[in-house]
Amino acid sequence: MANSQPLFTAVSSSARQLILLLRCISFAKKVQVRISLDGLHFTTDQGSVMEAFVVLEKALFTSYTYNHPAPPSSQDDPLPQPVFEVSLSSLLETLSIFSLYDPATIKRPSGDPSFDAFGAHRLHRHAGFDPFSARSLGMTGTCTFTYDGDGSPLRIHMAESGVTTSCDLTTYEAASTDPIPFRRDALALKTIMRSTYLLDAIVELASLTPTELTINAFPQSRRQHGTSALSISASGALGSVSVSFSAPSSPSNGAATTADPPILETFQCHNSTRARFSFSALQAAQRAMGAATKVSLRIDEAGVLSLQFLVEIEPVSNAGGALSIGNEKVAFVDFRVVSLVDDEYAEEEDSGGSSTADD
């Protein structure tokens, strides 16, 4: 590969979008990056108990070039996609290097004779409307990613009002971990809700500083009237908390109220399901719960929990009229958690006995 073109270049006009998404999975020290033709895949994991991944899709970048190297001969298998690890905190800090600096609040140096207090006030007051400000021209937070194959650093280059910052992130060889298998075709539970509800529940449970939490789900057929469909419970030294969610009323059951939108927008469960997870794993997803609008919570028959968060991304700029308005992009952040092995696993156990705090 003696050509001068780098293996990979991508330009993003908004580092903030990338920060928003990457913060969601920022519980680990290092992040695994995989470059593919359709986007940048970021994966973090915690042991092999939990992993989280987010894809920065090609569409998030203003330009995205990945020259997938051709295999030496046509008979060979295609070369694997580049995979490496970088320090996640360094990556996030680098991307946010200009976010603290707001040009509108910066005073001009005294040597400038055209600067006066009134002018400063005007500048300040109309800072949001200045059509030629770097912000409305979409110049803030523009960053370029470059990667040139094994052993070379991931280079991030950013420019803003006279300053350019370039950062070479040391790339480490990626630990080859297999992704946690999740069987979409064998689901024990599937539910969709607003992610803030899940966040509230986790925050509620966190007050006990538990080590693990239990998710219980009851199918429609087994439930008596008024009992919850899904409950998340945990117990600590000081007591136990259980947060229960009621299922949406099924069409056949016409008695339910229609005024409130259901907490659980979708709820599919055929057998009573009960699974325990490490609480810290769920806590690691808190940032994603805060950033997302909706979450799809699924548990497969092997007890693997999948949380898929839908994150709405604000448009790049609010000033540029040329930008598509009302067409905000969405991105998905995925978490997968392996359930704890239950010694006295009882399929038919009900949730009696614990005090409940209804959500």
């Binding site: 680098t94 600096y101 300053v163 040391t170």
Partner: protein
Amino acid sequence: MRFRASITNIHTFTKFTASLATLGHIAWVRLDEKDVRFTVIPENGSQVWSVLAKDAVFDTYTIQSAAPGNTINLEVPLAPLQRALKSAQNGTAANIRLTKKDNIPLLSLTITTSTMNNPVPHGTQNDTGVEEFREESVDFFGSRQDRETVVTQDVPIRVLAPASVQGIHEPVCREPDVHIVLPNLMQLKSISDRFTRLASSSKSKSGFGAGSSGPKLELSGNMHGCLRLSLSTDAMRIKSLWTGLENPELDPDHVSQGEDGLANHPSTRMKAMGDETGETDEGWATVRVEGKDWGRVLSVGRLGGRVIACFCHDHALILYVFLNGEGPGEGESVLTYYISSYSA
């Protein structure tokens, strides 16, 4: 020994004091007929030597001392001075004088605040009852518009004998290799602080950042308007580059041996190397500064002056902060920061 002055520019004086206070707790203040000098020499970290022209913040300045040169030397704690000035923020007038109470020497600030901007718009109301009451109250309390409050803030100080300050000298440094006007300090500070954070978060075990003294940033300048801030850790190498800055011309009158001295000046030699893009490795003068200390020095940016940095390669960095509103020539107010370079 007498000293008395009115403070005309409370805001500048407050910001000035706040900038000094970030570096140390105690300032050596030297007052004489021409100017006021504040010097902070902390146990470790950068020192600052500043000269305030007396008209920069003071008016009706009187000084009388038995010491030669009509000089008064004081040791002033900065935090109480800062607090005293804070209460003067909304004042209409403030005076400072040297006094003694119970045999303790004090700098006494007398602050006059008027209640004129009290939001009591009685007169605008049509309610006659209120109007009457207002007139009565004017009789009773005196005119509301003219009411004044006088606050006195005492800052305990120590008077230093001339002999005790004789041994304190401003650091002497060789001619700088590079001198350059710094970009906006608040921007530089926000980026520097982030670098410091990056360095401490990645906690490299060798090289930079080792030891207890905190992470080191590498700051370089060349004679072609470039300033570079860089940091290397195990996890990353990051650098920010400013281009198009100004390298002020040296005045031959201020260089030893005049024109000849200028021709042999280190900066003249540095000018032959490097370029405007800052991409080459040549022509840079580099110092290594301690991240946190550097951040404290940069807090002087709130004064909004023009800042010239003088780089002595591998040796020291000197910052000259010229305060607003001063023309060239005499009566200039300058803060001089001496920042020594750490070895790599």
